[in-house]
Symmetry: C2
Subunit: 200 residues, 2 copies
């Protein structure tokens, strides 16, 4: 039987593009690529995340190592930055560089863990409550309110920044969620040892 | 003495990019190119406008023929669509195709005229009041509220769609204006006869 933990890791292990949305709604949505790819040398459930403008995939604007895990009856996703992250830009397309990512390169992002629940055939997640996931943008600090929905077809995400004191919305899209279609499947790269560790 | 009409035509006759803004604020601003280029075969002040995602300049999402003109003591910009516009996609980079644009290809966009006033070293414009500049987006009609500021350095624009009945904001960026830097100068392509017509 497939555990919900392994189903979430499989669903995440892919490539996503919002090209249709961007071209249907000019110029309101930047065209973005998002990829999650297993990192077999790290703890089970570890996925490299790169997000980039489609025009510049070699310069991701966000690179993270996520780790899907159980907490109580539910699922969470640990959110980790990379020290010296520029060393790893583009690793999502370069196996040797992916293999070079080690535990010592990871920096846990406190307050930025995603809490995930099953929803129909997919999952919904949001940054844990507490307003502690702080993000800096041009000298202004905001806390991140971020949600995602993922299923076999694609993914929807909303990221918004709020003022830590007034809770006022500082940035984010009024035009709504980013809507991604699935373009790549990396689930075959999930090591069998992970599936055993997930209890399959 | 340079008239304000000719100064506005000169300032508009250029190329603009918001690359800096897009890369400073991922993923909130799509990277956009905007070009205005004189159409000497048409009435004085006529400029071809193309706007595109930087990733796909050959498929502009908006192509218009603007015409800067006097009204009373002030300035306005007539806003015209192109019939069979796909014939002219990319004309902003292709002189032969630009020359092929004739008066019969133009379709005036009622209610979408910009009203412009001088402001410091530049100009500010906004779509005339009346909520009559209707824009369709995926089957939903909105009226456009659009403003711009332009000077020698660059241009800032805000486009928002509102519900014609409730006036509710339907789309637009919460993150603020698009901020463009000037990348090209096409003011040398303004025909001398236009300057005479402008009263220089």
């Amino acid at each position: 039987m497939t555990s919900s933990l392994s189903r979430l890791v499989r669903l995440l292990s892919g490539g996503f593009s919002n090209q249709t949305q961007a071209f249907d709604n000019p110029p309101l949505f930047a065209h973005i690529l998002v990829k999650f790819r297993p990192l077999p040398q790290l703890k089970p459930g570890s996925l490299l995340l790169e997000q980039s403008y489609a025009i510049a995939p070699e310069n991701p604007y966000r690179i993270r190592v996520l780790r899907v895990d159980r907490r109580g009856d539910g699922l969470i996703i640990h959110n980790q930055a990379l020290l010296e992250e520029q060393r790893f830009w583009g690793a999502v397309e370069d196996e040797a560089r992916r293999r070079a990512i080690l535990d010592d390169d990871l920096l846990p992002l406190q307050g930025c863990t995603y809490v995930v629940r099953e929803d129909g055939g997919g999952f919904k997640g949001e940054v844990e409550s507490g307003c502690r996931c702080l993000v800096e943008r041009k000298g202004t600090t905001a806390y991140l309110v971020s949600t995602f929905e993922i299923d076999a077809t694609g993914m929807r995400t909303v990221d918004r920044g709020h003022d830590p004191t007034t809770h006022e919305l500082l940035w984010g899209s009024l035009a709504g969620a980013f809507a991604f279609e699935r373009t790549h499947d990396y689930s075959t790269e999930i090591p069998v040892e992970w599936l055993a560790a997930f209890g399959e």
